[in-house]
């Protein structure tokens, strides 16, 4: 893969060890301006280490990184000027107020006192922390600290945003606000990379996804195979008991039909098969009210990749 973009993020063959622990072994990907890219992987797969390297805090042992065309190892200042980073740890200066925290952060990006004050007010407005603006940050809840952390990452209006677990600790309303905000930031032409465990959340947020496993990005073929594998679909009808007999009538064995609290579950391998199945149910007179995948796209791919480890012949490069 060639590094093609001079905007956005380009990562090729990046590797980083801590002593004998190989945190990142081989990650390559590109994230383009105007899109939200999800970084998906189990705990300890190297997501945070990768983000620390992108955020100019950690130097890679090997491989190359370009943030808007700048190398964070050679020219960290150029990267810092256009990159905003929201860490997974919610460190804040406990005795300072929300407003002061944002003002000082703006000053650290070279803004003068008046600019910093104006920017802090804008951001407090943007993330909805007016009521807490003049309270010390130690009184903030986890979700409120997340909002402060996001505001801090946006202080210098960065064109590249790195968000490490931005939704954790947020209540449902705040998650929706976050999603709308992140989509808006992307629509403004920013490059956004989001790591999260809340896969259902990422499904609605992200345009594309990079899957990492044991420090390496997973090949496109493996991702494609996992995406197209069988997954459970959830079916609901006005008369729930009418679903199972109709399914059996279409030739699905009884033991392949399950149920959970909100519907009947059946495993279907392709979208074509799902459409055909829905047609058959409707023709059989079942009054279907809901027919949808029981897992989100990202969750489905993630779970399938987890269940089927890399085969020896699989390339790990994109």
């Amino acid at each position: 893969m060639r590094l093609t973009t001079t905007e956005g993020i380009a990562v090729e063959g990046v590797r980083r060890s801590f002593g004998s622990v190989r945190a990142v072994t081989d990650i390559s990907f590109e994230a383009r301006p105007g899109t939200v890219t999800a970084l998906v992987g189990p705990n300890g797969s190297g997501k945070t280490t990768l983000l620390l390297m992108l955020a100019t805090l950690l130097a890679p042992d090997e491989g190359s990184i370009r943030i808007a065309g700048h190398d964070p190892v050679v020219d960290p200042q150029a990267v810092r000027a256009i990159m905003g980073w929201m860490p997974d740890t919610l460190g804040s200066w406990a005795s300072l107020t929300v407003r002061t925290t944002l003002q000082i952060t703006a000053r650290m990006y070279g803004r003068d006192v008046a600019q910093a004050a104006a920017r802090a007010d804008e951001l407090i407005d943007l993330v909805g922390l007016w009521e807490l603006a003049d309270r010390p940050t130690r009184v903030l809840s986890r979700g409120q600290k997340q909002k402060l952390s996001l505001a801090r990452a946006l202080v210098h209006d960065p064109s590249v945003l790195l968000l490490d677990e931005p939704a954790s600790g947020l209540d449902p309303a705040a998650r929706i606000e976050l999603r709308i905000l992140v989509r808006r930031l992307a629509a403004e032409g920013r490059t956004i990379l989001v790591s999260s465990h809340v896969l259902a959340e990422l499904d609605e947020l992200a345009d594309t996804a990079i899957y990492v496993e044991r420090g390496a990005s997973i090949s496109a073929e493996r991702v494609a195979r996992a995406t197209s594998s069988a997954r459970p679909w959830r079916i609901r009808a006005l008369e729930p008991t009418s679903i199972a007999p109709a399914l059996i009538a279409t030739g699905i064995p009884a033991e392949a039909i399950g149920a959970d609290g909100s519907g009947i579950l059946v495993s279907v391998d392709t979208e074509q098969r799902a459409a055909a199945l829905l047609g058959a149910l409707v023709s059989a007179g079942v009054e279907v009210t809901s027919f949808s995948p029981a897992t989100g796209d990202l969750e489905h791919t993630f779970l399938d990749l987890q269940a089927r480890p890399a085969e020896p012949g699989d390339g790990v490069r994109l």
Binding site: F18, G19, L52, M53, A55, T56, L57, L58, A59, P72, V73, P76, Q77, R80, A81, M83, W85, P87, D88, T89, L90, G91, S92, W93, A94, S95, L96, T100, I104, T105, R107, M108, Y109, G110, R152, H156
Partner: protein
């Protein structure tokens, strides 16, 4: 970003965070009370000796007291400046901004220095009282204040440097205290042990008068030689020059009375340190017979005058230590980081 703009932002952050804490004001209050007690006690003591112009003693004692408390407080204020921020997860949020590692470390150092100098400022009313008692020279005031401020800065620099070099806040604070103890007490112990360990043989020749029975006439007896060993403190005096109290005393212009004795504590300490530069006489002759006149030894002022000052050596050593700690600290705060200390975290 311009160097001092970034340093200024960090100083502002640091002073807002730490100095506005309640603990700092409590310390400052306790400090003022202690200095007040010392001032009253020393004032009473000097008054009972009937001494006039006792301002020199009181002033030098207060300055020494500020140095002592300052060296006890500075490591606490500076010893977790960087790694404390790292533990709180806020160092990385500074490092991703346009503020450089040098600006972070220098800003933290200057803030710790300013916070420590506040203790000197808090003691100023008592220094004015001392000045009012008289006998204080302008040179003593200027030089001692300057050296005291520099020494407090050295401790702050060592503390901030160690907090960037060592991972754990508790560990770096303890090591800062050990550094202060090594300079303040360690130099005294090394000097004492060294002097006692290296001894030289002294061959003292004594001539006694021998009186004849029942008369005033006497003859001089044969010279007798006695052999004993003497500690060689003169070989180890340079160690003392690294002591901050000695630096302060030796740098201050000496103030002697008309009888050649010190009129403030700085001159007293400096005179003692200067006296150990004089090597012991390894073959003294004590003639109690022929030479009838008894010669008094040199006064402290005379000894002071013929020995060499050492304060600039000690001060230079301290400045090198401070600069070394800060530059090592800056190197360890630089990002992107290649090596990480064992057990440390990035963010």
């Amino acid at each position: 970003m311009k160097l001092w703009a970034g340093v200024g932002v960090i100083i502002g952050l640091e002073l807002r965070q730490r100095v506005r804490g309640v603990a700092w004001y409590v310390l400052l209050g306790v400090f003022v009370v202690l200095i007040g007690i010392v001032t009253v006690l020393v004032g009473l003591a000097t008054a009972s000796f009937g001494g006039e112009d006792s301002g020199g003693w009181l002033y030098s004692l207060i300055i020494y007291f500020v140095l002592m408390l300052g060296t006890l407080i500075a490591p606490a204020l500076s010893g977790n400046a960087i790694n404390g921020e790292r533990e709180a997860g806020t160092l990385a949020t500074i490092q991703v901004t346009l503020v450089s590692a040098a600006q972070i470390v220098l800003g933290k150092f200057l803030a710790a220095w300013i916070a420590t100098l506040a203790f000197l400022v808090a003691s100023s009313p008592f220094l004015v009282v001392a000045a009012a008692l008289g006998g204080l020279s302008v040179g003593t005031v200027l030089v001692s204040l300057l050296v005291l401020a520099v020494e407090l800065g050295v401790i702050a620099a060592i503390g901030v440097g160690l907090s960037a070099i060592l991972g754990r806040p508790l560990f770096s604070i303890v090591v800062s205290y050990l550094a202060v103890a090594a300079l303040s007490l360690g130099t005294l112990i090394a000097f004492g042990l060294g002097g006692v360990a290296i001894q030289s043989e002294v061959r003292a020749t004594t001539v006694q008068s021998i009186y004849e029975d029942g008369s005033d006439s006497y003859t001089c007896g044969p010279p007798t030689v006695s052999i004993y060993s003497a500690p060689r403190f003169d070989l180890f005096w340079p160690i003392l020059s690294a002591n901050p109290y000695v630096v302060l005393a030796d740098a201050t212009p000496p103030q002697f009375s008309e009888y050649g004795s010190p009129t403030d504590l700085f001159t007293g300490v400096a005179s003692l340190v200067r006296a150990v530069q004089v090597p012991p006489d390894l073959s003294p002759e004590f003639d109690y017979c022929s030479s009838a006149t008894f010669e008094p030894g040199p006064t402290q002022e005379e000894t002071y005058a013929k020995t060499v000052p050492s304060w600039f050596v000690g001060l230079l050593l301290h400045l090198v230590l401070a600069a070394g700690a800060l530059s090592w600290g800056i190197a360890r705060t630089k990002t992107p980081a290649r090596k990480l200390a064992v057990g440390s975290r990035v963010a």
